[in-house]
Amino acid sequence: MKGKNTLLFFLIVAVIAGTALIAINGLTLGTFSITPVKDQLKLGLDIKGGVVVVYEAQTDEKDDALARTMEQTKQMIGKRINELGLTEPIITLQGEKRLRIELPGVANAQEAIAVIGKTALLEFVLVTGDTPASEGMTLDAIESEQILTGINIEDAFVSQDEYNQPVVSLKFDSVGTTLFYEGTKKAIDNVNKRGQIAIVLDNDIISAPYTQIVISDGEAIVQGSFSYEEANSLAMLIRGGALPVKMTEVQTSVIGPTLGLDSFNSAIRAAIIGIILVMFFMIVFYRIPGVIASIALTLYAMLVIFVLIGLNATLTLPGIAGIVISLGMAVDANVIIFERLKEEMKVGKSLRASIDSGFHRAMSTIIDSNVTTFIAALILFAFGEGPIKGFAVTLMIGIISSMFTAVIVTKSMLKLSLGFTDRKKLYGSRG
């Protein structure tokens, strides 16, 4: 009986240690292989780098109308991101009139932000006043009359003009063709008053050509001083159409890939050193129970990581902090049990009886203290956003895992350890 328990004890230790080693280093046996957990974890933007932008819609719309507008905007922004060829974007509605856009690993973040948030309302206007329009002016600076907007444009693409400059070619739909025909006709009729058409994007004049002929084929080109990339994103914006509302950037966070990785590595290193210090402290203070607590902690750390992988949850820096806090609580449950154990031994109970009654009495403390902390985490999850949510998730996973390891694993191992020793001194008793 005793020998069997001892064997089982060391078997459990070996299994946990083995699993931990495989989890850290991975394993390859012929065709069968396990990737190290480090590579299976989905890392958040703050670790692997990327961009987070929060836009706020400038609108007085409310309720259903607002919800519709936001949904439309969300879809259009999604389309733009797709056209830019960016992968795995996450677009979420935050509150009522905000969109949070997360783009992992964007190399040139500033360009991406510039394109995504543009309203991209394209207008063709007839210049009617005495002031001639020119590139760089705003629409308010001239007197004008609208001919058509981007809605009537069927297609837009980049081509080159006769000087090899990149231009954006436009193709109007049937309504647009008619409108443009009438517009150019008006421009020519007004030739002594100027005859100029201005092309306006979000209130900025981007091109101001003069027409000599009436255009009826429904095609036009936008010449302006832009690079090939700029022409390309302009064409894309026109194709995608204008956003239904103006969006302003209220929060941005750009994390370069090296910055995030540095923080990640330093956090992991700190956590490992912290755990080793805790194990050292526990073993010195509690002897055999301390060793058992260290084994339970190893299992706890693995459980948290496996659950994170299983839930396909994203690990962020605040998330790591949550794991660390719950690690503290995992130790706490063990400390509560071992202190009770010492008290029970002191009143003269046998080791085996002490373990049973100590556990029994520690349980209500552990449950009450963990449930209250869990309540706090749950409320953080419900009311927090972004990083705070990530923190709350790992804290909750941590609390559950720590209850499991402390209550079930610590208890069974304490009992099994009786197989090779029953000296109370080794269990922290000073008597």
């Binding site: 700190a270 755990i275 210090l277 503290g328 008290e343 403390t365 009311f383």
Partner: protein, 296 residues
């Protein structure tokens, strides 16, 4: 087990905590809290310059933008700079500021390793949200404790909780430490942790009340605090070991998170012994007296 007489000097502990909190609030009304850009609105840019360049020189390069910036060095070799300003710069303006640095030091586009921008209205919302979360969490925890224990325990625990949060804010006000959103997350964590500590003591009080009916409330607190002392200290030590290593080894953003946690857990441990427990005993004593006169 050494018997600690917690109740003997309770007036001293209350006075100490009261003094820190009053001082903190006086400082806060005089100087205000040192709010980070995520509360006031503003912009942070982190740029890798490839070599160490003095703060004065960098402020000169970006002088024309009139940002009134805070500039600090970062990175292992001090080759990075973090520029913070209360002006909320949009994408185009950030590009211009970076452009000036890029030109001055011949940088590539990827030298801009990080940037953050917050609109002025965001901070208020984050703060209000945090206050609401703490209040809701307090109410729900109060209900839970009232069911599992009794209402007086719940009230004492929540008083200790508010003590911890106010104490932490006071320390930030007194030393002028920057308050940002990781501070809020830390406060919320302390809400969970401090209550955990208090519950462990109260759990023992609950048990001792049943066992030793003829002892008065002060004696029960003294016994219970002494019995749970080793546990309280050991748990705080182990948690502080982990958080301490995060603080020492972590990068700036981790340090900003670890610091308030470190202070908060220390304060939480102190308050569960010296604030929550005496408060419970005093309220119980007061209620018992009232009942005594009522039945006379």
């Amino acid at each position: 087990m050494r018997m600690l007489n917690t109740m003997k000097h309770y007036k001293l502990w209350f006075a100490f905590s009261g003094a820190v909190i009053v001082l903190g609030f006086v400082m806060m009304f005089m100087n205000g809290l040192n709010l980070g850009i995520d509360f006031t609105g503003g912009t942070m840019m982190q740029v890798e310059l490839g070599k160490e360049i003095s703060v004065a020189e960098i402020s000169d390069v970006i002088k024309s933008f009139d940002l009134n910036p805070d500039i600090v060095h970062s990175g292992v070799e001090k080759t990075e700079v973090i520029i913070k300003t209360k002006a909320s710069l949009d994408n185009d303006l950030r590009k211009e500021v970076f452009g000036a640095l890029k030109e001055a030091y011949g940088l590539e586009d990827n030298a801009l390793i990080g940037a953050e921008q917050f609109g002025p209205s965001m901070g208020k919302e984050i703060r209000n949200r945090a206050i609401i979360s703490v209040l809701i969490a307090s109410v729900v925890m109060l209900i839970y404790i009232s069911i599992r224990f009794e209402t007086v325990f719940g009230i004492a625990a929540i008083i200790a909780l508010f003590h911890d949060v106010l104490f932490l804010i006071s320390i930030y006000a007194i030393f002028g430490i920057t308050v940002n959103s990781s501070f809020i997350a830390a406060v919320l964590t302390i809400v969970g942790y401090s209550i955990n500590d208090t519950i462990v003591v109260f759990d023992r009080v609950r048990e001792n009340i049943k066992r030793e009916k003829n002892k008065d409330h002060f004696e029960i607190i003294n016994t219970s605090v002494s019995q749970t002392m080793t546990r309280t200290l050991n748990t705080s030590i182990t948690t502080l070991l982990v958080i301490g290593s995060l603080y020492v080894l972590g990068v700036q953003s981790i340090k900003e998170f670890a610091f308030p946690l470190f202070v908060g857990i220390t304060v939480g441990t102190y308050s569960s012994i010296f604030i929550a427990s005496p408060t419970w005993a005093l309220v119980r004593q007061y209620l018992a007296k009232k009942e005594h006169y009522a039945t006379k």
